[in-house]
């Protein structure tokens, strides 16, 4: 299982959507592709699925060039790009069956897929489904095709929170057996499901890292503290005046983000001071990736491991 981008460049007239992008994904697992809107995520995924042609460079799927040999390259890939539409004239069952048959996979176990993905009524026409249902049907169709590589472009975009949870759990299952290449702007989603992340901005890869070390770097020096009731800001400010905390951000009357040197003893000191004020919850900042991401896209580009 391998996806390789070699000097991948895509221009739309004078606009450069991808600028000399290089990466190499190999083996099972989930690879995140993060970037703001217009960064080049979908363009990359469309090139790997032959929906777009690169201006220069190569996109290789298991060493097969997607432009020179699209049919062979796509044999390994199941793709969910943007907001796909299952054939409206087909029922759910027919669509999944068709997806399997055109790849020569024979009749799929649709009932098992229904249970796994919580699919709607199998006899229902695809045109009558909600957006979330269509996505699940589409995912079922991809699973029926049993590809070794899944390219998922913002898979949970536009879904309600419950559907997003279902999707994330599915990806956690899929990545045990397959390579997942997943683009998202939902950082907590990437943090949750991905093993490795590429940051892309303005068509260029600006950083890459495994999620664990990235989280450590940016998470360990901030905690979010939620109080039972509103607290006076000067009590928090005192932490910075005493030199225990570097700075703080007031998120609401009851929630503060406190940035410190990252040491465990400093963390303990801070909590010691705050507990008498009525602390409800303390968590490491879940904004860690967002922070890294924002720093990166604001121009502080990093090379190699972040």
């Amino acid at each position: 299982m391998k996806l390789v981008a070699e000097k991948l460049t895509k221009r739309f007239n004078s606009f450069t959507a991808l600028d000399n992008v290089n990466f190499k994904l190999e083996g099972k697992g989930c690879f995140g592709y993060l970037g703001p809107n217009g960064a080049g995520k979908t363009t990359t995924m469309k090139i790997f699925t032959t929906l777009l042609r690169p201006t220069s460079g190569q996109a290789l799927v298991n060493d097969v060039d997607v432009i020179r040999n699209p049919v062979e390259a796509l044999k390994y890939v199941g793709a969910l790009i943007e907001d796909p539409e299952p054939y409206s004239f087909m029922s759910v069952e027919e669509f999944i069956d068709y997806a399997a048959k055109i790849r020569g996979k024979g009749t799929p176990d649709i009932q098992a897929l229904k249970e796994k993905l919580d699919l709607p009524d199998l006899k229902r026409r695809c045109s009558k489904l909600s957006k979330g249902q269509k996505r699940r049907v589409f995912l079922a169709a991809i699973l029926a095709q049993d590809p070794e590589i899944m390219i998922l472009d913002e898979p949970s975009a536009g879904l309600d929170p419950a559907e997003s949870v279902i999707f994330r759990n599915l990806i956690l299952q899929f990545k045990k057996e397959r390579m997942i290449f997943l683009s998202s702007h939902l950082l907590y989603e990437v943090n949750h499901v991905c093993d490795y992340v590429y940051f892309i901005n303005k068509g260029r890869i600006v950083a890459q890292s495994d999620v664990e070390s990235l989280s450590k770097k940016f998470v360990s020096n901030a905690i979010r503290v939620e109080f039972n009731s509103s607290v006076e800001e000067k009590a928090i400010k005192q932490l910075t005046e005493e030199g225990i905390a570097n700075r703080y951000e007031k998120e609401s009357d009851t929630v503060y983000l406190i940035v410190f040197d990252g040491k465990n003893e400093t963390r303990s000191k801070i909590l010691e001071k705050l507990l008498p004020l009525g602390v409800r919850t303390v968590s490491d900042s879940s904004l860690a990736l967002e922070k890294a991401y924002l720093e990166l896209i604001s121009g502080k580009e990093e090379k190699g491991d972040a």
């Binding site: 042609r53 054939y87 020569g104």
Partner: protein, 267 residues
């Protein structure tokens, strides 16, 4: 296997579409009109099987053009919608998809056209006169080939335009209005419209006639004090076949090239 599966699915999409449910009965009704009027005593019995069959095929070119516009006009452009995110990411060459769509559109057009213009026309002619025209096989063969040419041409437009609606409308307009208008204008300037597909289609009706009309006729029409000379051309059968073949080959090749190069930028 892959090809058959696709063909079957595309054909099914037509049979389940509202346009099929609307157009098919309308075509049946229109082609049966002469039969209905005959039994109602409104029109007299045609003089012979030739004139009857020829009359029955009067609107064949128009009917074929409309059917092709409606059914084949969006056969390819549908892939430039969100459906394309599925179709075009499958390991199937676009040439294969194109051909399977062409055959599905052809099949539905043949069903629509032949089940009324031909089936009603020929069977009722047989009922009235106890015979069919001797050229029946040429009539059917040429008719089928013409439908193939028109559907191929429609698929070319379908691969050019991104919007399903636009491609359907443009296809129908070109076949219904642009080509007939050019043919009409050329009658005044004595140029044989050998480069128009609808010109080739007129051979289908000509085959049904008792005597095949001459290749060229000059008709002088009085217009007040002056006269207008009309130059009427009728294609020979080989000429019609050549025109249809030319349109089909060029349309299919160009259509496949455009389709293969088409990118799904924004939808």
């Amino acid at each position: 296997m892959q090809f058959t599966t696709m063909f079957y699915v595309y054909l099914k999409s037509y049979f389940r579409s509202k346009r099929f449910l609307v157009i098919f009965p309308i075509y049946i009704l229109l082609s049966s009109l002469s039969v209905i009027l005959y039994f109602a005593g409104v029109v007299p019995k045609p003089s012979d099987v030739y004139s009857y069959t020829s009359e029955a095929l009067t609107n064949f070119v128009f009917a074929t053009s409309l059917a092709a516009g409606v059914f084949a006009g969006d056969a390819i452009s549908r892939d430039f919608s969100r459906e394309g995110f599925f179709t075009l990411t499958q390991p199937i060459s676009r040439a294969r998809i194109f051909v399977s769509r062409l055959l599905a559109a052809l099949a539905v057009c043949v069903i629509v056209i032949f089940s009324d213009f031909y089936l009603v026309g020929i069977s009722f002619g047989y009922y009235l006169f106890g015979q069919v025209i001797p050229n029946i096989y040429i009539l059917i063969g040429l008719g089928l080939f013409f439908v193939f040419g028109v559907v191929s041409f429609a698929l070319l437009f379908s691969s050019i335009f991104k919007s399903q609606l636009v491609s359907g409308i443009v296809t129908t307009l070109v076949l219904w209005f642009v080509m007939p208008t050019i043919s009409g204008i050329l009658q005044f300037v004595n140029i044989e419209p050998w480069f128009l597909l609808n010109y080739a289609g007129s051979a289908v009706q000509a085959v049904a006639k008792n005597t095949y009309p001459p290749h060229y006729q000059e008709i002088v029409v009085p217009n007040g004090t002056s006269k207008i000379t009309l130059h009427l051309y009728n294609p020979t059968v080989p000429e019609a076949v050549a025109i249809i073949a030319f349109y089909s080959i060029i349309s299919i090749i160009a259509g496949i090239i455009i389709y293969k190069r088409r990118e799904l930028k924004e939808i």
